[in-house]
């Protein structure tokens, strides 16, 4: 497995975890505080395994923390979707739906990769993705088919994020495969599937939105303030 691909997977998971964790003590329900923390922990766990492995494959002595805390945004390889601000709960759920509808088939495929180490990581992450997909799909349906306000917010969220999903389906996971997961959820949620059109990208090449460097500034501040320290 090449380093860049591992970094893409690991950075997606890491940045998703960082954003999800921003919800701590702020969720609409206490049960959701627990659920979002769970999902954040899953993503963080996957990120740690993937970044550790990426560092080993790279062979320059960088561990998970060196990769997480000592790269700047131009070196991160995550898709743009995960770095976008959380927005309201509808935006967060739409992000998670779109992400897990990509991660689930991807990890499923990678679980039978010839690279045993990667296959093992993906095998674990796949089960978690299935839960993330279910959780976000349920909320998408509940909000889409809930009140007038929740329908409007959920539709706005889907519309706003839709363009960023093209970056997810530019590789191993085909657009058709991804749509086969997402479209039925939108339909059940009484939401309109947005038209395809604008397809922003660049994350895999390290050309991000203006949001990522702020996220990293906060995430990395303490680690960087104490070079070489152990924690």
């Amino acid at each position: 497995m090449n380093v860049d691909r591992l970094l893409e997977l690991g950075d997606d998971a890491l940045i998703a975890a960082q954003r999800l964790a921003e919800w701590h003590a702020s969720s609409p329900e206490m049960e959701e505080d627990v659920a979002l923390a769970n999902i954040a922990l899953d993503q963080l766990g996957a990120a740690r395994l993937l970044l550790t492995y990426a560092g080993e494959v790279e062979g320059r002595g960088r561990d998970e923390d060196a990769l997480a805390f000592l790269r700047d945004d131009r070196e991160f390889r995550n898709c743009l979707l995960v770095e976008l601000p959380n927005g309201d709960f509808a935006v967060t759920m739409a992000k998670l739906l779109f992400l897990s509808a990509y991660q689930l088939p991807l990890y499923t495929r990678l679980a039978s990769h010839e690279d045993q180490r990667l296959a093992a990581i993906a095998g674990k992450a796949r089960k978690e993705s299935a839960y993330h997909l279910d959780h976000s799909a349920q909320w998408t349906i509940r909000l889409g088919d809930g009140t007038e306000e929740s329908h409007r917010r959920m539709q706005d969220a889907v519309d706003e994020l839709w363009p960023y999903t093209h970056e997810l389906t530019a590789g191993e996971v085909s657009r058709a495969e991804w749509l086969s997961t997402v479209e039925p959820v939108l339909a059940e949620a009484t939401l309109t599937r947005p038209a395809d059109g604008w397809a922003p990208g660049g994350g895999r090449a390290g050309v991000h939105t203006e949001h990522l460097s702020y996220l990293l500034a906060e995430m990395q501040v303490l680690h960087r303030a104490h070079p070489g320290a152990r924690w």
Partner: protein, 307 residues
């Protein structure tokens, strides 16, 4: 009255009172107040520690802290459920919190200024909570006692993690060591104050003791905590910020300086450094979540109608 006699006998025999049993109204009210305050403390307590999740210095520490804050949400949920067995709903209790009519532990009204504060909260605040809570595992009200058993197990895990954070810092760089000492200096007295006012001034204690809700006095528990911390501070290689702290051979316990109870009263009354911030955060989260809860309810209603 047969019910009252049965209740008294159960208490006397160190058995458990269960939700369906008759109990004195004031017993029920005392428990609701105490369990709710405890639940609220778990929920509000997510904020000061949660403040460092996004900035945790390693991914491992981030995961541990996130899991800890998640546990607190879970503890809040058990405790609200325990309170609900007494005939009050979680929504009512949350409303009382948001209206400022029920309290949460005053310790969470202090700010977390550095990463070491996460360690200090784990070691001192969770440590004090455990000293308070271990006796509650034998509390006379069954659902509360059982919730406390589970919570105490997790809390001691958290306390060890806090200790470990401080241990690593105190054996790290000069700056890390200073950060750890600074955190202990700021959290020590507020932690002592967690045990409440001195016995002489304590209002609810006597009746709670008789009902076996409370088993030890505030001062007894505080002493136990001090003695425990002195030993552990030695292992950490850090100093407790009390020049008068010393072993008293006669009492077989440490003499120590009392916390500033006037400050404690001010913080309880609402004038701690972060009371307004914590409550504003909780209210904002609640208000911003209203549309989501309404949508979930509307959806559930539609589905129920489908059946």
């Amino acid at each position: 009255h047969g019910d009252a006699a049965y209740f008294d006998a159960v208490i006397q025999a160190d058995q458990k009172v269960e939700p369906r049993d008759w109990m004195p109204d004031s017993y029920r009210k005392t428990l609701i107040r105490q369990i709710a305050q405890h639940a609220h403390s778990e929920i509000i307590g997510m904020q000061p520690e949660g403040n460092w999740i996004s900035r945790a210095p390693t991914l491992k520490r981030k995961a541990i802290l996130l899991a800890k804050v998640q546990d607190e949400a879970g503890h809040g949920l058990y405790l609200y459920a325990a309170a609900e067995t007494l005939g009050v709903s979680r929504d009512e209790l949350v409303d009382l919190l948001l209206a400022g009519r029920q309290k949460y532990s005053s310790i969470f009204n202090y700010p977390t200024l550095t990463w070491a504060d996460v360690g200090a909260i784990g070691w001192l605040v969770d440590g004090a909570a455990i000293v308070n809570q271990v006796p509650l595992c034998r509390c006379s009200y069954g659902p509360y006692a059982r919730a406390m058993i589970r919570i105490c197990k997790e809390e001691s895990f958290h306390q060890r993690q806090g200790f470990e954070i401080l241990h690593t810092l105190s054996h790290g760089t000069e700056a890390q060591r200073a950060m750890a000492q600074d955190a202990i200096d700021r959290w020590w007295y507020p932690s002592l104050a967690m045990f409440g006012p001195p016995d002489a001034d304590s209002t609810h204690s006597e009746q709670s003791m008789a009902w076996k809700i409370k088993r030890f006095s505030n001062d007894e528990l505080r002493q136990r905590f001090v003695d425990m911390c002195v030993q552990q501070a030695g292992v950490l290689g850090l100093t407790l910020p009390d020049p008068d702290l010393r072993w008293n051979e006669e009492r077989q316990a440490h003499d120590y300086t009392q916390p500033d109870y006037d400050e404690l009263m001010r913080v309880i009354k609402g004038d701690g450094p972060c009371n307004r911030q914590r409550m504003a955060h909780r209210r904002r989260a609640h208000d911003e979540g209203t549309w989501v809860r309404e949508a979930a309810a509307a959806y559930a209603k539609k589905r129920a109608a489908d059946v």
